[in-house]
Amino acid sequence: MKKKLYCIISLILICISLCGCHGSKESSSFVLPESFDETKQYEITFWAKNDTNINQVNVYKKAIKDFEEIYPNITVSLKLYTDYSRIYNDVITNISTNTTPNVCITYPDHIATYMTGNDTVVCLDELLTDEDYGLGGSQVRFDSPEKDEVVDEFLNECIIKGKYYALPFMRSTEALYINKTYVDKLGYEIPDVVTWEWIFEVSEAATEKDPDGNYVVNGQKIMIPFIYKSTDNMMISMLKQLNAPYSEEDGTVLIFNDTTKEILYDIAKHTAKGAFSTFKISSYPANFLNAGQCIFAIDSTAGATWMGSKAPLLDIPKDQIVDFETIVRPIPQYDISDIKMISQGPSLCIFNKTDPQEVLASWLFAQYLLTNDVQIAYGMTEGYIPVTQKAHESAEYQNYLNREGEDDNIYYNIKIEASRLLLENTEHTFVTPVFNGSASLRDAAGSLIENTCKSVNRKETIDDAYFDALFEKLTSLYHLDQISAQRTKKDLGPLPPTSVALLGSLGAAWLLIGAYTIISYRKDKGIK
């Protein structure tokens, strides 16, 4: 009896010792309830991002009001942000205290980081297709789109590690906004799709000054011919267009290569001539464009309402606005027969909670944001496009598109042209692989350009040694070496001595326990 007790105690001790090495307790995965409990009151929080645009806020508020009328037992509390990074930071902070919102606007890159917590983000695979509560489900109380009515490309962007962890909410791309008046003045004709070579050539032509130090093209002291808002997108798009490596699906970082160097050499050359700058260095492209101090501004189609001398939203005094004709083109390309542009825009993710009914309430609200009412209304606030075919094909949305240019507000022509750019090029869009660390890699991509431009402006030497040092610095700064370390086991090195000793003693203990049991058994049975 005593021996058996020893054995049991030994086993319990081993189990406890092994448990001690494990991380925190895992929270349970979401299990879809059979039905939604409408007898209980649910209060859910929605952290939303807007582009400092009151019209977007009003769409959110109306969506919440309408949804609460359909589901009186759900109350939605709205928290407004104007910056994705702030949402990301707050979510990360709140994961540790189990105070995440129920639903939030975010990027898939960020979700990959949220997912490092156990069951923090709800997997949507089952929810998307559930007959009762899935997209277009029979128990859903509003006209929800079916899963196959969501644009494939946009829905697929929400797949992380083979599963859906987000819903697309709105999509945009980048557009090239051109001061056509100045390009004409410089003697150039704008092609339907411009090349990088062309845009830099015209930009350099625009740097000519008169004897008084004024730029010839605008007669002002300031002219930055070409400004790119998002330099991470710039680098990513250029690499994609050249079919050059960036990263792999599993998180392998490939950005530090010879093609990247060639791109940076080219950018450095044009920066040195005063032809190119960036948002971080100079400020918003729209402000320079509208003041006649920039000819080519690349920014999101979701920033279209700020672009052009008749733009409905302005950030500079009206007396600084210069009158010019604005046109919209895809971002410059290396190969005009194979256009590539980035797909971006807000997605929705749902956070797990202990009460599955609360998660279901969150899902219903997130799903409501895909209805035509919300999609079309939000799409009309900027150069976004709805993410469902159902909305694209609706009479209301088609009417909106067809009224392009009727006024400089709802039907502002630049905004609708920007939307059309993406509608007509959806098959030419791409996204980058999403993994834990992909957001850092994206930041590093932008920093390559920002650092190079800053160094040029400071007249530092730009050569291979400079880029080697820059690559090394950014690898360290953004912990890109750690992403690779997470990905591959072979880099982990040998087991620490304590682990070797532990494993060895575990093996030895089991051997001895086994031997002891056999010997005791043989003794009991009188076997020699």
């Binding site: 001790l13 400092t52 009151i54 942000y81 990074s85 950030d315 800053k454 304590t498 203990a509 010997i519």
Partner: protein, 271 residues
């Protein structure tokens, strides 16, 4: 045999516990103390330095925005003022979060937090930059210095509103006296005393910036409560929310710049 087994199990338990122990952080050499061979500029030399050039200054921390992968600091010395900027997106951190905590009264960013500081002296090495008119020190390294602290008195620049000369006081702690709150238009076109965000696109409870207009009898000027400097719930934030169009107010804050004067207000008194 039993004793051997007991000893082995005990050994195993100890080893398993040691394996679970948090790995020691590698020893990091302490931040090198500032060396005396660095040439520190006075404010005049800094003001004369070209944009894009490297600068080194020493000044006193008057205020700080909440920490965001680096610090945004309002500095001043007896001759002029500076703004230190870190873009907060993975760029080199200009100041560790731990050192930042030594400059501000608290790092508990709950409602009501303000970043008004008690004037610790720091050395800043960085690049003089300009962004939308705001002259600042970017890519900066901030080192805390020992020695006496100093808090600037707010300088009255009311008479300079609307003049080019106001820019000479950029980033200083300033005050404006006897201004009148002018109406802003909300989304419905109503006259209101303030807006959440510049166009009213924010909301209560979201810690958005507050924008409000004031006038000295001529053109209105837009002032802001920067919500990362004075959080929702702070005295100034709530005071602005209580303003009425037509109120006469005395204001204090830092003369930030964004396409023109854009003071970050830290105090409002209604007369």
């Amino acid at each position: 045999m039993k004793k051997l087994l007991t000893v082995l199990l005990g050994l195993m338990m100890i080893l398993s516990l040691s394996a679970c122990k948090k790995q020691e952080e590698p020893q990091v050499d302490p931040e090198p103390a500032p060396t005396d061979d660095v040439v520190v500029m006075n404010y005049g030399e800094y003001a004369a330095a070209e944009l894009g050039s490297k600068v080194v200054i020493e000044a006193y921390v008057q205020a700080a925005q909440s920490y965001w992968n680096g610090a945004k600091l309002y500095l001043q010395d007896k001759d002029g003022a500076y703004f230190v900027y870190c873009d907060g997106k993975g760029e080199d951190i200009n100041l560790s979060e731990e050192d930042y905590g030594k400059l501000v009264p608290s790092v508990d960013y709950s409602a009501g937090w303000t970043g008004l500081c008690d004037g610790t002296k720091v050395r800043v090495e960085g690049v003089k930059s300009e962004w939308s008119g705001e002259v600042e020190i970017a890519e900066a390294t901030v080192t805390i210095l020992e020695g006496e602290k100093w808090v600037a008195e707010a300088e009255d620049v009311t008479a300079l509103l609307g003049s080019d000369e106001l820019a000479d006081h950029m980033n200083k702690k300033v005050k404006f006296s006897g201004l009148t709150v002018a109406a802003s238009k909300d989304a419905e076109g109503n006259d209101v005393a303030f807006l959440y965000n510049w166009d009213g696109s924010g909301a209560e409870g979201s810690n958005n910036d507050l924008y409000f207009n004031v006038t000295n009898g001529e053109a209105p000027f837009t002032f802001v409560v920067e919500s990362y400097l004075c959080y929702e719930g702070s005295e100034v934030y709530e005071a602005v929310k209580a303003l009425n169009v037509g109120d006469t107010v005395d204001l204090e804050g830092f003369l930030y710049w964004y396409n023109g004067a854009n003071p970050h207000i830290t105090s409002v008194t209604v007369r």
